[in-house]
Symmetry: C2
Subunit: 223 residues, 2 copies
Amino acid sequence: MWRLYQFPLCPFSRKLRLLMSEKSIRFSLERENPWEMRDEFFLMNPTGRTPVIQHAEKDIVLIDSRAICEYFEETVGKNPMINGTAARRAEIRRLVALFDENFYGDVTAPLLMERMTKRIVLREAPDSRNLRAAMRLADEHLDYIDYLIDNRPWLAGSTMSLADLAAAAQLSVADYLGGINWSGHEQARGWYSTFKSRPSFQPLLAERMEGVQPPKHYSDINA
Amino acid sequence: MWRLYQFPLCPFSRKLRLLMSEKSIRFSLERENPWEMRDEFFLMNPTGRTPVIQHAEKDIVLIDSRAICEYFEETVGKNPMINGTAARRAEIRRLVALFDENFYGDVTAPLLMERMTKRIVLREAPDSRNLRAAMRLADEHLDYIDYLIDNRPWLAGSTMSLADLAAAAQLSVADYLGGINWSGHEQARGWYSTFKSRPSFQPLLAERMEGVQPPKHYSDINA
Ligand SMILES: N[C@@H](CCC(=O)N[C@@H](CS)C(=O)NCC(=O)O)C(=O)O
Ligand SMILES: N[C@@H](CCC(=O)N[C@@H](CS)C(=O)NCC(=O)O)C(=O)O
């Protein structure tokens, strides 16, 4: 069975968990805190980042969430998530990059620093300017999701794709950390709440990071 | 024909130029300085980043270098660069991510800031501590390339792949900016110099960024 090295608020691990669950791939969770920089973990992955996924029986170790998603897309036929014409596949991958890189860099990474790393690793108070900047950028990203959902039922077109999983993974971590103000974003909120009620999402909503509490609406699937 | 929006020292555009050249895909270059934040460019790409590639006749705009490389891999059969078993393809994509994200973040991006952006945009002096830190990290990345090349002729295995193009693209920009000290890295140097003499590499070596001169060895294919 696959064994996924991750921690509860790693958005790239969440994207992978959603993909594996949608494709009915069985896996177990192995807790890994990259900030502890364990030697054994660096031996598996020289960048020291999560997620890493291992299949001991098959002697396979895979690294980088996008590389791992492509691997499962190529090896498991059920519920294709990078599908359609070459142009549609490019559109899916463009949006995955936008959420993995721009949303993460603008919103998720600063929220993780202020509300998780400073609390549980550095034992410092969060900087409210950084929090405000991240929330302002989150608002711009929500505007873009509104615009996409105004034109298409799912982010990359007429069916659910890896773009939706990548976006929902980032948003779920940002929402857990109190960084998302949904008001005024009806399209984004509607799309996300459909998503939140999928079976693949339930383990994420039920999970908690020690020392960091989510706001009340976080796991409410009607919110 | 394809039209590539880029600037001479954008490593992601360089990776794409190498790929298109290896696959004999014709394209023209369109100069785009992302720091100018042109409205028309943001209309094409909401993240405002290079590279973007456009095919006006086919009404296609593609964004994100990795998404674009996958597109050409899927649509142009010549010289496959993400090939082999699913595990080998995952290894190629792992290494592409390592160079696009870790090498870029550790080395190329700080060098571009200190030696290009500060000179031509901000008109400030470079910070020598940042330069030293980037060069120290470059040395660690060269150690990793040495290690890979000790075990395999090309970075991801027995044939050239997108991993080699991604690595060479980042290294070429870092080398242009004087950030690479090759001494003590014979394997990496040997691999890179084979690469430097390929026809696909010649346009990159001949190009200059206004106001920023490369060191003498940069375009010497015997160095
Ligand atoms: N592109 C990578 C990004 C992975 C990543 O940034 N992981 C974070 C945790 S959310 C990490 O391990 N950071 C520790 C570090 O960068 O040292 C992927 O998609 O897997
Ligand atoms: N993942 C993107 C990265 C693109 C990127 O970071 N491009 C840089 C130039 S080398 C850029 O446009 N930076 C401007 C910005 O981030 O605002 C890709 O592979 O295309």
